[in-house]
Point group: C3
Chain length 213, copies 3
Amino acid sequence: MALYVVDLFGVAVFAISGALTAGRKRMDLFGVLVVAVITAIGGGTVRDLLLDRRPIFWIEDPTYLLVSVLAAAATLAYARFLRPPRYSLLVADAFGLAVFTFIGATTAYEAGVPAPIVVLMGTITGVAGGMMRDVLCSEVPLVLRREVYATAAIAGATVYVLLTNAGVDGAIVALLTISTVFLLRLTALRLDLHIPSPGPKDVENSTSHDERL
Amino acid sequence: MALYVVDLFGVAVFAISGALTAGRKRMDLFGVLVVAVITAIGGGTVRDLLLDRRPIFWIEDPTYLLVSVLAAAATLAYARFLRPPRYSLLVADAFGLAVFTFIGATTAYEAGVPAPIVVLMGTITGVAGGMMRDVLCSEVPLVLRREVYATAAIAGATVYVLLTNAGVDGAIVALLTISTVFLLRLTALRLDLHIPSPGPKDVENSTSHDERL
Amino acid sequence: MALYVVDLFGVAVFAISGALTAGRKRMDLFGVLVVAVITAIGGGTVRDLLLDRRPIFWIEDPTYLLVSVLAAAATLAYARFLRPPRYSLLVADAFGLAVFTFIGATTAYEAGVPAPIVVLMGTITGVAGGMMRDVLCSEVPLVLRREVYATAAIAGATVYVLLTNAGVDGAIVALLTISTVFLLRLTALRLDLHIPSPGPKDVENSTSHDERL
């Protein structure tokens, strides 16, 4: 139950990220909503398709669609009057990544696939939505360019597999997996934001952080 | 039977749209055919994958592939000598969108999914092919930028759900669903084409209409 | 068994191609690995999804993932010190295309689908990974622009269908299918590389050959 709530929170955060990115691309209102929904549910959809887990999670429970549409609509309304709070959004995005990675790894583990596939499915669930967002916005996906984004997901999913195979209690596994992704990603953000840029590559990275979610 | 014929007509129209868009992108002959086929059958393929409806419609009935390849080849031959009739193509495209939306909604309804998913599947069937076309041509998808494109599909699919749940006769549902999408889209085209552009955004929109299908 | 080895060789070659393309796009280390893996296994994944062949080949046998990650890592290490041998890579890529086309056509044939679908699945298995690579790198897919790339796959898959339906022995079918794709693609490369460019289009093509893969 608690997991369901944080999962919906992750969906809302990713929908906001999609709406903000698409909002800079001269799309019409509906286009922004489409990109927001795809960002929010894309990763889990690819995971369910690859694992042949039916029905797809948002077909089984349309609450996910509802939450992503509402989050995107609220974002558009908010952005019309106020500047989005960038750093708060990056923190929320890191939390969404952490939750999605845990849920993806759990789903794959319960499907009985080999350990490397569990890690991969956790990663895909965390990052594929953001990749689709950027492909639809005709950009090289940010999650492939940002330091320690998918890397954080891989690390967390690996923690999940190791602890689960060691027989650790489920609640502790959840806590440690989510913490690993979240703290790694936050640390990377902190370093990017505060260490002076040594060269053109880092300059570009921190610019991205300012301009994009 | 009549529905099968208009469905094939929709496939042909979308293949033409794909061939014309790809033809401006320095692709070789085969590349243009690939984009045309993906534009024509992409929406229905995503729908069938998400609903786990097997076999995929064009694997079950290769006529769809044949029609899309023939339409793309005829388009390439025609475009070598004559200018494509832009406005007629936009009208045909609106009709294709209407038919695909109806067929997608019907397929989802028969699969027994909740009403919001029926609306979404109608929309996906109508617009996903065009989104793939533009992603392959490395552009921000036109269907996300054009006013009242996917919006028309959503409206039509909603009409479908409301009428079907109210027990209205199937032929009337088909007629009203298709008319809703088609007329909404045509109205949007008319307004875009005839109302003076008030600002840079509308200028860009009408330019798109001139340059693209 | 021999086929399994050449299949893994094809996976490695495509992973190298993905790593080299992504390496020019300011991605971080992980981003390059993601693109390399998608390039290597993307075509077969789409094939298995469309044919509903479960589990997906790399979920059933994670060796494919391992080989693609190792090939990408080795490429990154090598490219740090030495220039990649372009022509050798193009030849290896042509061989990978040939093997993937044969395996895709075989998989589809064994699934009992109609002949045009067998040809299409061979082609998809050969070219979809490269298309995803270029979409993720925000470019119009090279496989759609290069002369006689997908065309070679189509020709080979057609040879496969004709010979198999004629009752020819499996080993001979494999040899002739793979040879058809490989030799057609090599011939096209030779002509591109050695015939003087008659116009801007050919100039662009040969530039692509120098700069990519």
